[in-house]
C-alpha cells in the first residue's frame, strides 16, 4: 500500500516535470536553449517513472525492461543532443569551429574574467 502511494507520487512528479519541460521547450528563444529540456526529460522523468515501476510492480520482466529503456534513453539522449547541437551550429554558422568575430570569451587560469577567443587561424 505504501509502495503504491510512493509510486503514484513519483509518477505524478514525473508527469508534472514533463509538462514543465514541454512548456519550457515552447517558450525558449533558440534551439540550443530548447535542447536542454529534452535532457531533463530523458534523465529525471524517466528515472522517476522507473523507480515507480520498481516500487509498484513485482514482475521482474517489467522491472528490467523499464530499467533497460531508461538506460537506453539516458545514453542515447546525450549522443543525440550532441549531434543535434553540432548540426544546428553548422547549419547556422556554415562551420563548426569558432569564428573570430563571434565575441566568445576564453576563460583560463591567467584570465578568469575571460579574454576574446580569436578562433582558429
Amino acid at each position: 500500500m505504501h509502495h503504491a502511494l510512493a509510486a503514484s507520487i513519483l509518477v505524478w512528479i514525473a508527469v508534472a516535470l514533463a509538462v514543465f519541460c514541454a512548456i519550457g521547450l515552447a517558450i525558449m528563444r533558440t534551439a540550443f536553449e530548447r535542447l536542454h529540456f529534452s535532457s531533463i526529460l530523458a534523465s529525471s522523468c524517466t528515472a522517476l517513472i522507473v523507480v515507480a515501476v520498481w516500487l509498484d510492480d513485482p514482475n521482474w520482466q517489467a522491472r528490467l525492461k523499464a530499467l533497460f529503456i531508461a538506460v537506453l534513453l539516458l545514453l542515447m539522449n546525450g549522443v543525440l543532443s550532441h549531434a543535434t547541437a553540432r548540426a544546428i551550429r553548422i547549419r547556422q554558422n556554415k562551420r563548426l569551429d569558432i569564428d573570430g568575430g563571434e565575441k566568445i570569451l576564453l576563460i583560463t587560469k591567467e584570465h578568469p574574467a575571460g579574454i576574446p577567443h580569436k578562433g582558429k587561424s
Partner: protein
C-alpha cells in the same frame, strides 16, 4: 482506470507545446521538438504498459527508443548537410 493510465492521460498535455513548436518554429527548433516528442511518447508507452499490467507491452517503448535514436541522428545529419 488506475493511476498509471491517469498519468499517461496527463502526460498527453506535454505533447501540445511540442506540436506548437513543430508547426510554427524554424527547422532547427522542429528537430529538437521532435526528439523531445519521441521521448515523451516512449514514457507514455511505459506508463500504458504498466497501467494495463502487460509486461510484453514494454517491447513497444523499447523499440521506439531505439528507432527514435536512429531517426534523430539521420534528421540531424540531413539538417546539417542538405535541408
Amino acid at each position: 482506470m488506475n493511476y498509471w493510465l491517469w498519468a499517461a492521460l496527463g502526460l498527453l498535455a506535454a505533447i501540445l507545446p511540442c506540436l506548437y513548436v513543430c508547426a510554427v518554429k524554424p527547422a532547427e527548433d522542429r528537430l529538437v521538438a521532435l526528439e523531445f516528442l519521441s521521448c515523451i511518447v516512449t514514457l507514455e508507452l511505459i506508463l500504458m504498459a504498466e497501467g494495463f499490467h502487460q509486461p510484453s507491452f514494454y517491447d513497444l517503448p523499447l523499440t521506439l527508443a531505439l528507432l527514435s535514436f536512429g531517426g534523430g541522428m539521420v534528421f540531424a545529419r540531413f539538417l546539417e548537410r542538405w535541408l
